[in-house]
Symmetry: D2
Subunit: 179 residues, 4 copies
């Protein structure tokens, strides 16, 4: 029986409700790996974020976040890109809605090799060319641009956690980079 | 602070909780359109379900259902294919995890053209070759096989609801059928 | 026995040799359908060319042309886009090398539904966002921009030949348009 | 004007003509990497060929070959799969015509990283599940099945030439394997 008072923010979850939902339902996420391309479309540089995790360690991450209730995937992508890269990044979303892969994160080890302590997340992972100026707006966030070869070097690969180094390799393979 | 008693079925939602979640969070779905292919991989026939909706009208649908907490997309696909086509259908899941499109259903009209009264659903939509015998197990369900041309005929297209006729056209276009 | 004098233009074929090759070998082509997208990546408009065919009839076509010996697909795409849309079109090639489909044209009817009197062509067909100004440079060429709904209308569809109307439907389906 | 006598084998090229064409035109190729998948579609094993090259060295290769004049890509794929894996391999061609990548081989180094001394080849590269028994019919050919991890090991990677190790990594990334 549902006798709760009308919700002033339908579609908005309290922290506790979100905590509960994360233990019961897969969450829809978008992930974006920003790239700079040359005129022919070849990837010149990959943008990787460096961020402190809950243990205070610096880890490499991608632009990432939840899709809200009644929000389209494209709107969620733009919102998270603007949040993490600033309003002048000028991301070029593809006319195709297809990601380069579907990344499935689980709270414990699984076939997918991707883990997230907090939740089961189904992330649509995109490679997104950006043509403008990127200025991460959050203090705790640093953005580094590097060539595909640098991004795939063991030193950088070791800075990822939760299996995300694999995801970067898949993204670059999707762009024709197998090295 | 979370002082609720331990949940005997973590990952299971009561009907009321699911009803609430559907008004607050996008749900992860899989959809599958079964096809029969010839030896070269060309689509010979498309399998469409006919099912009574809540108003008692017969509507065309696809194999479709929720991805459960801690369930992989591939496991959810097989589970729903077996539920709707029976255990002898022998679906051939592709080595690639990519769907032919991401279908976004909203409870009210949107850019995507797809609607679902109950919820906001993000559905990964796959075209799945099946090689075995299909016997829908649910009484209320009928499966018809038809050629791509028949499936795209105005009469059949009119039997879809919620924008799903578009989705079928996208699926067949993905297989090289534009007609 | 090969006693020809050294070729001053290796990689270049005389008209007669090209005519002969076209009767013996599949030709590699690129095709591009230019689109204008909004900030979210949704297709606003499709650019279609109108051109006189050999019988003097006006037919709808796409940007299209041969891949030359030692030319990359990306270079061929840019070359043909510039030739047909002018040097200020600013096409945005995707980081992924994948086309929306592989179009197989045959000199006589086949499974693919696509025909080309002159040759067997294997065309990699791309949907390409353009952000600049388009000015077809060839006199015999006219470029019209129209919405996806207009482009899929029976009147416009009837202006295509060789099965290309199907290809346009596949391109728009790839961008999430099934209508 | 073309006054040559009618060709008794239109679509067939003499060895000399083929040699000449290979110096003037890109050749259309198909490449296939056979895989064995489990019921969920995850790749269990990859099939790699071992073959003596012109210098008598053993190198790893894929199923590969030319698309003939008037032959569809699907027919060419099946023909080369049968030639290299035998008539009982039972390859499962996907309903989608899209390869996992377009591999561009050039006779000299280029942006693509792929080389082929003999020619400029544009190869549509597919990952193909096979369910039957594979018996390479050509004496000089050996087929080995190995896990994705083995196939990506440095020892096996070193056995490829012409950049094909990259291609294998792209194929496995396409199937969700980034490791």
């Amino acid at each position: 029986m549902n006798v709760r008072t009308p919700d002033p923010n339908p579609g908005w979850l309290s922290d506790e409700d979100l905590y509960e939902a994360r233990r019961r339902l897969p969450m829809v996420y978008v992930e974006a790996i920003p790239v700079r391309c040359d005129a022919l479309g070849y990837v010149d540089e990959v943008g990787l974020l460096l961020q402190a995790n809950e243990q205070g360690e610096m880890v490499r991450t991608f632009v990432s976040g939840r899709v809200m209730y009644r929000e389209t995937i494209r709107a969620a992508l733009l919102r998270h890109l603007e949040k993490d890269l600033g309003p002048l990044a000028l991301p070029q979303l593809s006319p195709s809605p297809l990601p380069f892969t579907i990344a499935e994160y689980f709270p414990s080890p699984s076939e997918t090799g991707l883990t997230d302590d907090r939740q089961h997340a189904v992330a649509l992972a995109y490679l997104i060319p950006v043509t403008g100026e990127c200025n991460p707006r959050q203090d705790a966030l640093e953005l580094s641009w590097m060539t595909p070869a640098e991004a795939l070097s063991p030193a950088i690969q070791a800075e990822f956690s939760g299996g995300r180094a694999d995801l970067l390799r898949q993204a670059l393979a999707h762009a024709g980079w197998g090295r």
